[in-house]
Amino acid sequence: MMAMKPDRERPRAAAGDFDLKRLQELLYRLIAAPCGVGEGLAANGGLPPGNLEAILNGDDRLSARERLEIYANAYFYRLLDVLKEEFAATLMIVGDVNFHNLVTGYLLEYPPTEPSILHAGRNLPAFIRTHSLSRRWPYLPDLARLERSLLEVFHGPAAPVLDASTMRQVPPHEWPALILRTHPASRILDLEWCVDLVMRAAEETGTRIEPPSGPTSVLVWRQGSRAHYRRLERGERAALALARDGVAFAMICEAIAAEATPDENPAALINRLLARWLSDGLVMAVGPWPASPAGAAS
């Protein structure tokens, strides 16, 4: 398949004119320098004697440095735009200037490494936890984590979900042995602040609110083509955590019943939560299953 063409007469660069690896490493450092090419040049000891013009052509329209700055600006602002879209509520809370500075520091510590730019923001919640902004807004790491999780479940694996009509086809006496598992495009976030309220306010009214603190479990999941989030009800957290790895429905029922209050009917609570999970497209059946369990992929 790979038929080689005869080599042509072409001029060759003189030996030692450049080393491609060193050249790329140098350009990378200059382009990714947090405060631009000027700072990169000042900090760099890898330049040959002379100046940047020994490497890049400049002319009377644009100097070599100005040409490189086009790439440096494109690098930063492309990623800034991506992260602004991904962390819109975080941006709303801290404002443009703080977010700009946050991203400057973030890219220095976590430069992109993956082929897809979708991964560029995956470490931002962890970075915010160590950043001074989280002293002014202590709920910021939780908020960023919620926003990042929404993106990740949006692109999470597809799998057939269990719906109510399929469940009804199973004789009730067989329900306890059914193995249920939460959908792979879902996750439970254990948070220190009620940042779901911050998200909701930002999305629905474009307003900023200060959330109450306190342990909160938020469910993030994809249903159809949309990512959703909601606060978990009492009894749901333990049961859904069990179901992450697949567990018999009887064990899920025990987990829910254990959390029922004395004046609450455990069976009613189980029925209500199961109906909600089926309606949300949150669970899948992994067996044993007497009939075809196929549901809609989500």
Binding site: L20, N57, L68, Y71, H155, R226
Partner: protein, 287 residues
């Protein structure tokens, strides 16, 4: 290079998020779609569902931005495995990427950086391209990138470099007409000479797009209509390379789909006119 391997698909546009619902729900008139491969390198969800639905009705081409074929980093085999799996699943008419490097030292700048145009670099890139093509089991197209910097150590013109890499790797060329125009302005060469010098038998696809004029330089932004000068270059390219598959790129400030249809129709019309006006022997020589 056979035309079965790279069939003439006609006139297509990029598959972009604002148009997902319209395309899936109404199946608008369009010859084919090009997808940014990395945007679909995910486990599931809406983008993959849309791509499956689109693929049921239209030919697609997978156009990558992170192969980084010119990097001095080792070839990313995880990336290639994912690319190969996607190709098996979606059966694109072909796969393309850029003649550039996107990062080094394990980092990704998410940009398409130019290479020095030198013999050593031709060998470096062509060797990696051959390896990639062997792994994928198919030839791919490599695209000329827009650029704002050029290297003092270059000994070849950009078009000599592009042709040499394609010849040595035995791959095809995705010729971006707008990028030629942008680079001609930014680096001071004749765009027509570029078009007239690229090896005819290698060119299997065109890109057309708009750019921004920043006065001292042109910026390849894909957010404006195709300029008249670029259309004229396109017509020149059609006369030289024939009616190869043409793609309208529009990635920012994306207009309504019907406007993209109109641009694709204009491309078709200009292509037909250019073909009618072309000297038939010259055209027949490579068809």
């Amino acid at each position: 290079m056979s035309h079965c391997e790279f069939p003439a698909l006609g006139f297509g546009v990029g598959l972009r998020r604002p148009h997902y619902s319209e395309i899936v729900d109404t199946h608008p008139r369009m010859d084919w779609f090009e997808v940014i491969t990395e945007n679909f390198m995910v486990e599931g969800g809406r983008p993959l569902e849309v791509l499956e639905r689109v693929r049921e009705r239209y030919p697609i081409v997978m156009h990558g931005v992170s192969l980084s074929i010119g990097s001095t980093d080792p070839i990313n085999h995880d990336y290639l495995r994912t690319l190969d799996a996607m190709a098996r699943r979606f059966e694109p008419a072909w796969i393309s990427d850029h003649l550039c490097w996107t990062g080094v030292g394990g980092h990704n700048l998410h940009d398409l950086l130019p290479l020095p145009y030198a013999e050593e670099v031709v060998s470096h890139v062509a060797g990696r391209l051959r390896e990639v093509q062997d792994i994928l089991g198919r030839r791919i197209l490599i695209e000329n990138v827009s650029s704002y910097m050029a290297f003092a150590c270059s000994t070849l013109t950009e078009w000599e470099f592009l042709g040499a890499v394609a010849d040595e790797a035995d791959c095809g060329i995705l010729l971006d007409i707008n990028n030629i125009f942008v680079n001609a302005f930014n680096h001071g060469f004749e765009a027509e000479q570029y078009i007239d010098s690229v090896p005819v038998e290698r060119v299997k696809q065109f890109h057309l797009a708009g750019h921004q004029d920043h006065g001292r330089y042109l910026l390849d932004t894909h957010d404006h209509p195709v300029r008249a000068e670029v259309w004229r270059l396109y017509e020149r390219a059609v006369r030289r390379f024939g009616a190869v598959s043409t793609l309208i790129e529009w990635d920012d400030r994306i207009p309504e789909f019907r406007e993209l249809q109109a641009v694709a129709d204009e491309g078709r019309s200009r292509c037909d006119s250019a073909m009618r006006g072309a000297a038939q022997p010259g055209i027949d020589a490579h068809r």
